[in-house]
Subunit: 198 residues, 3 copies
């Protein structure tokens, strides 16, 4: 149940984040919707392919695509798109929600394989997958490579989940999610950065 709610929240968040990037690239309403849908479904489709679950959930159940389409179209409305464009922090917040939600969905989809490394890897891949596809499709350098700390919160949140999952799966998901969103927002606000090569 918690996972299901998280999946809807993550789908909405990533669709909005993709739609905003598309609007900035001056795409039309169909391009905006398409990039929203690809961002929202991309990570989950990649996860399902990796665990051999075909056809992927997103192809079997139209709900996710519908939610993503509606979220992207609402983002396209001038009232909404202007607001998000004005305040960059709203975009980072929405993107963090998607990142946290999908990392948790990915890491908990991996529990049946009894391999902690695999769980964490699957969580991070599912979490960052949608954003990487979004950035590549929009002709941007994927954020995962340039933003301080983009993948770090995912890894830390996935580890939190793995540690707590033995006690209570729901609490593990909620805490892991919170850690990811909090760390990413703190990193963005205080501009945490890691060393670069000279």
């Amino acid at each position: 149940m918690v996972r299901y709610i998280l999946e809807i929240i993550g789908t909405v968040a990533f669709s909005v984040s993709g739609a905003v990037v598309a609007i900035q690239k001056k795409m039309d309403i169909l391009g905006v919707t398409t990039l929203g849908v690809i961002t929202a479904l991309g990570g989950g489709i990649f996860r399902d392919i990796l665990i051999g679950k075909t056809p992927p959930t997103a192809f079997n159940n139209p709900l996710y695509a519908l939610v993503a389409i509606v979220a992207a179209i609402i983002t396209f409305l001038p009232v909404v798109s202007k607001r998000i464009n004005l305040d960059r922090f709203i975009w980072v917040f929405v993107d963090s929600i998607g990142l946290g939600a999908f990392t948790m969905i990915g890491v908990s989809a991996g529990t049946s394989f009894n391999n902690v490394f695999f769980e964490i890897f699957l969580g991070v891949t599912t979490g960052v997958g949608g954003g990487v596809v979004r950035d590549i499709c929009a002709g941007n350098l994927p954020m995962i490579f340039i933003k301080h700390f983009y993948a770090c919160p995912c890894i830390i949140g996935a580890v939190v989940f793995v540690i707590l999952n033995g006690y209570n799966a729901n609490i593990a998901v909620i805490l892991g999610f919170t850690v990811i969103v909090a760390l990413r927002l703190l990193a963005a606000k205080y501009k945490w950065h890691l060393p670069k090569a000279k």
Copy 2:
């Protein structure tokens, strides 16, 4: 049989469309052939991965790769490449043929799953897949995001197929294909466009 002919037509068309993009990017003959093959086989390989059909058909049967290689090399010949470069409309026409053919192949590959949403989704993914890979590999913004109406004809054609498939599969394929090519050419000729965000 109709599907088989369509697959060869689509392979030739997408290989030519990829080869032309490669020539415009000043690639050598091997780059031109490679981009042609990737464009021609990309959508089908992605479709097979999505439905869990591994190894993908394109890897099992060398015919498709051979057809794509020959089509790309012929496109590379000065007599042919000059002609296509001079007339942009020829390129759009060839690309539309590939789009229509692969959308029909994808949508009919999905019929056994008894899920109309899945069929349409698979048709659109197969249809636009090769072009998206081509554009990303060539460093262009994928056409699906910027060209008026690129994905729209696919969706409409896939719906036409789904409606008519109950009566006659071959007629459904041929009509769906024709609708896609016609709509895309009309959209290109009359520069139909959808609203952008302000």
Copy 3:
């Protein structure tokens, strides 16, 4: 055993090649490590998806990711990164080692399918896959399309393997690998090139 050693050598080589590209793009240490890991694991993950082996080996066994992480971090150290940046030929050499190793791993993973075309295709895809993902993620035109002879050595080396595999699998792998590395280095040194369209 030979294949296993080759897999480690290839993982180190491709991780270094990805890390150097990331350093040139001014990424921080996390971006450098991530691109190293993606380059090192990308080709193999794609190969496993194509042959239906899910979850992919790289997700089940943390060894490959760990080796890639360590290799990328060492490359990030100023002592190492400065040296590689000064001498472009070192980078080409490292990339050729990765290309040769992964082509051989791919082609020998395909032998059980009893289809020579499939073996060669799988070898080339595995060999060039990591580099294509690396270049797309870094916002570069994939080398496979622009560098003289990038895919050619792969195809020739894969054919060498297929011919010799009936006699002795280890000798086939070692000779195929040597042919790929040698041809690619010769092509880079003497700037072999293929014709472009006018």
